[in-house]
Symmetry: C2
Amino acid sequence: MIQKFGKTLGLAALALGMSFASTQSMAQDNLEKVMKDRGLTQKDVLAAAKTYVPTGGRDEFITFASGGQSGHVIVYGIPSMRILKYIGVFTPEPWQGYGFDDESKAILAQGKIKGKDITFGDNHHPALSETKGEYDGKYLFINDKANPRIAVIDLADFETKQIVVNPILKSQHGGPFVTPNTDYILSAAQYAAPLTNDFVPLSEFNDKYRGAVTYWKFDKEAGRIDASKSFSVELPPYSQDLSDFGKGPSDGWSFTNSFCTERYIGGIENGRPPFEAGCSQKDTDFIHMINWKKAAKLFEAGKTTEINGHPVIMMETAIAEGILYLIPEPKSPHGMDVSPDGKYFIVAGKLDTHATVYSFEKIQNLIKNKDFAGKDAYGIPILDLQKSIHLQLSVGLGPLHTQYDSKPCTVFTSIYVDSQVTKWNYCEGKIIDKLSIHYNIGHLMTMEGDSVTPKGKYLVSLNKLAIDRFQPVGPLHPQNHQLIDISGEKMELLYDMPIPLGEPHYAVAIAADKLKPHNRYKVGWNSRTDKKSEYRTRPGREKIVRKDGVVHVYGTLIRSHITPEIVEVEEGETVSFHLTNLERAQDQTHGFAINSFNVNLSAEPGKTVSATLVADTPGIYPYYCTEFCSALHLEMQGYLLVRPKGMKASGGKVDEGQTYTTADYNKQVKTNVDTQAVIDSVVAYITSRNFKDFAPVVALVEDATDQLGFAAKAKAKSEEFAAKKDYHNGTLWAQQWFQYQVKAADTGLRAKTYLEEHGAVEVKK
Amino acid sequence: MIQKFGKTLGLAALALGMSFASTQSMAQDNLEKVMKDRGLTQKDVLAAAKTYVPTGGRDEFITFASGGQSGHVIVYGIPSMRILKYIGVFTPEPWQGYGFDDESKAILAQGKIKGKDITFGDNHHPALSETKGEYDGKYLFINDKANPRIAVIDLADFETKQIVVNPILKSQHGGPFVTPNTDYILSAAQYAAPLTNDFVPLSEFNDKYRGAVTYWKFDKEAGRIDASKSFSVELPPYSQDLSDFGKGPSDGWSFTNSFCTERYIGGIENGRPPFEAGCSQKDTDFIHMINWKKAAKLFEAGKTTEINGHPVIMMETAIAEGILYLIPEPKSPHGMDVSPDGKYFIVAGKLDTHATVYSFEKIQNLIKNKDFAGKDAYGIPILDLQKSIHLQLSVGLGPLHTQYDSKPCTVFTSIYVDSQVTKWNYCEGKIIDKLSIHYNIGHLMTMEGDSVTPKGKYLVSLNKLAIDRFQPVGPLHPQNHQLIDISGEKMELLYDMPIPLGEPHYAVAIAADKLKPHNRYKVGWNSRTDKKSEYRTRPGREKIVRKDGVVHVYGTLIRSHITPEIVEVEEGETVSFHLTNLERAQDQTHGFAINSFNVNLSAEPGKTVSATLVADTPGIYPYYCTEFCSALHLEMQGYLLVRPKGMKASGGKVDEGQTYTTADYNKQVKTNVDTQAVIDSVVAYITSRNFKDFAPVVALVEDATDQLGFAAKAKAKSEEFAAKKDYHNGTLWAQQWFQYQVKAADTGLRAKTYLEEHGAVEVKK
């Protein structure tokens, strides 16, 4: 019976063009069998089909998640949930050479605090640059909470370009957030401290400890923050938290929530109730509303006080000028999210079951009418909560963060204690759906959910605990990001994704087609300054120059050799390697590591990178390419020789381990001629097809042509030596000629396979 | 027509219990529609179903991949290809606190070279510990090529426990490999250098540069390498490469291949052909065969020479004692893989199309009969290639590495230039199948493929280039690991997995059920020494002790407060924080970061971690928990106060931002009573079910019980203050009582959800 149905199914499915069995092996290996073997339900198979991206396919959205205490940014695709890259930001990362080459060390050095290297960051909130409120795919910004800093990442190459240290804060959680045209980047204080760097006893907390919001000016032309045009607004010692900028009608304002407006100070070691008790006693905390456009004018007008060399609009001025207001919000809130149309913002308090929808119009009317409910201890006008809101809705136990759907009035709120996502209508205050997640959701994220036009489709639940969701890997668990299908009325869980390194707090997702990174640099490029490197070296121009007490090695990398291959210096000399990757082919990165000197560089095609070391101990130090770049990658090696102080240079004389004869030469030449015949057949295949219609193949052909050009040069050298009856060197150069042939063949075969797999057609000559 | 078929299909599928549409939304949202919308083929859906692991499901195999220049080890599941963890090994990694807490700094300090910190590693070849040739799931070993070191990772907690520096090598690629009972761990040199640390000019390369193989003794009881029982065998200056230990009949021997036996030295900067030409001229290189059991006896008998304090069996001795032989192998080989039965080993040369199957029996006969083809320049006997082999087979252009299937005589070889995997029969020398991969495969890996009983099923192709396989993320691409189904006769490509950080060179996979890591430590545990920490602190015993010029802070972490919350020291004092995580619940890790002092710790449940700093600059430094541990995680904070030198201690007096009254007290108590009713209802639900049948729920109940215990204590304090009419402190402790209730509710709700989702049944009392 089952067999009969199975047959029917097979035929029916075929008729629909949707056989579930691979044509090749239908009998043994069909979907039914796989489901049975692997214990999958129908729902599982549907989820698998919704998330699987076949080889070479593309994800629809790209996510940038903060890496928490790892200091990195995590890039992953949706719906496949495959992690594409970790970008080194605040923490050195040797695979990328980040914090290992001189160029990126200079970026990390910008992040020093009080002269100290900080080798990690606790990053929380990535923000994408915007144009007219839409994600434009150009830059990513991210904060460090522990050591108040903001980093700028260029999405042209996914590299960190700048780190700025907040000059007045000692803690900074609520940032970065950007204005609708990325004119300013906001970062808010968290734990209050004196804005100066002084010691002030806790007995003066209320008077001398402060919070603040900093508005960093972003120079879009330069792609860098301009600290000289940035300023802050002094705030009370309430722990400021997440923020957002207004848009549309609310453009010009920023909103920052807070906790511990009780200004409680713990001391459980002395019998005082801990911070957690004293900081959550009041029913409400405060939203700080700031008119940043007016604040920028006050800054330009010089109405600031310099603190640690940084201009600050003091509270007194902010109050007097009418740019600062407080609105109560349910206690211990976390998210602050302005609606796509800019008319509302939603806040939820973790110790309250409600999400609160504030009406910007109502708030503006209260301000216009000076209808205040009172002032705080610092004289800041407080608006009435009930008069400021559109509505409140009980959404669950521990609501935390809200994100917007593409559908009107529709939002999703993460519910921490209930471990749920609540979908609700914020215009009418109605629950639409609830979905259980595993476990303890923090932030959540919809596609372009912070922009003026959220894209719907998917939601990611950033769960803080994984517990039993994955194969155990010791006491330290991964986080769990769950992908949820929000295209229908009901939410559907699709995928559990472990985060293997770092604890993401927040993430942003952008339509993948908005990102157009390049895949190689202009030759001789310093990727951290985005300028030509002063150390760039052209092929054949490699040299070693001693200047101002430094041995500068101007070298190049190309598969499969490093030029120079031998560098000899004297004990005590400072040596600076400057290496330019001469490759033009995509993904032909070379690495460079030297034994014992903690040197590891990553040189992508075109990049020039440097490493400086002091040759303090005599000895023999092999160096080599750390990226498996080619068949003879292991042979891409060299030696740094450090001779003892005062010893005469060895003069570069080397032992020959082998000598070669006419017979060797003839044999190698024959091999090369045979190899060339194979290459010619591949070239004939490629050029007989419409290969110019395939951009990746054009790039491969370009590369193969380069390699054949190198082969021709090696061949000429080989023949030159042979003509002089120097068959030893003739043989060696013939081997090098062969090596270039191998590289050309490798590239050519890749091109041929591509054409075969992508339906290239024969063309008439 | 199509609709009719659709209906038929739906019914047929239902009858088979395998409807492809979710029951809930069959009409709108079925597999057919998803396939059409997402452009999936039937083969894609089958691959999706073969790789998808539903929420809470487990992978069949766990892979440990080297992280290349990242210095980490990458752990991922098969078939889901989800990365579960990056383990910090040679590179500091702040999320894990690795290289940030004093305990793990001590591990990294073991890896110093010539007194220098090395903050990365170029790791290549992970090896799992074995018992009788089977993976036992206990330890993982990994090498650093750039700075010759081996690390030991304990799979009980996935942490790095030891780093040993090779005392005589300057480069080390071919290792680690383990004997069938993990008695020894082998690491082989790569680029030749003097075994001493002296400078020796390259003109003395043949005489004074050397290779070697080191046999590290592994102490299985201690879980550490015992350097005092380890030794090396001196080898010629051939670039030694990958190795393997014999098993079964070949147990007692190790095999190490090599390249550049030409002993060529480049110098392209001086017009010499580069290394790549001179190192690939000869048709063959050498396998080094060493009888390690006899070598160990020679070491015990003292027949060694001390070099850099390390015992080395010199070549002369090795030759005289008959423990060292050479066998030619096709040039520039990479893999060296002994068959599961130990009778054969397979080697392939990257510049030859052949894979070569060596017969251990033939080789032993040649040695027994002293049937040698000659000697090398150092006097080592060379066996004849043709007499040593079982067979050779042309498997493709650029064969590299071979792995064994569970089926007899069946192997897979990676083909670098052709970008293919060749499946072949090594007993009969027949090609079975070829599969194209994208692009440029390096190593490949089968499940437990290096053990005596490979498990078949899956193969992973470790591709070195990704090029256009994924959404572009700048000039530095991820690597691409492709999962291949090898259960049938034909290989089938299932999944493309980007590697987001690091360049894996090799990987090993073990059946997931062999791994039994623990999920919490004994309370007060130093995880790096695997002993109780001398700094462990019990709850209520927190203290600050000044001793020998150091301020020791004995503190604890529990959600949601750090004890102590205020630490005041004087400028210039050295401060050592020792923090014990008191949590017993799984995944309740706490972090600890201090502003400006580069401190970031990760304390998993039970762990004690320390951070030492010099309080060199007066000021206010907030500290906080960096893991989102609970609803009031943000409030898990404190202050390090550094007062200027000579200033009197501030005495711990603090400002009160708020004062609370009888009304506040009564209100809070009412909230708590109401909350307790909710908790009681959850408790009633749980205890009415067979919750003891669910281990995760038992753990949750244990944790909730802890929290309720804490709540009771806070309640008592609150009532004590109220009785004294101190309603301010009464209110605050009532709030703390509430906070513990929230944590209990959080945990209880997780338990309730688990029971609901796992079909718990009602039990009679």
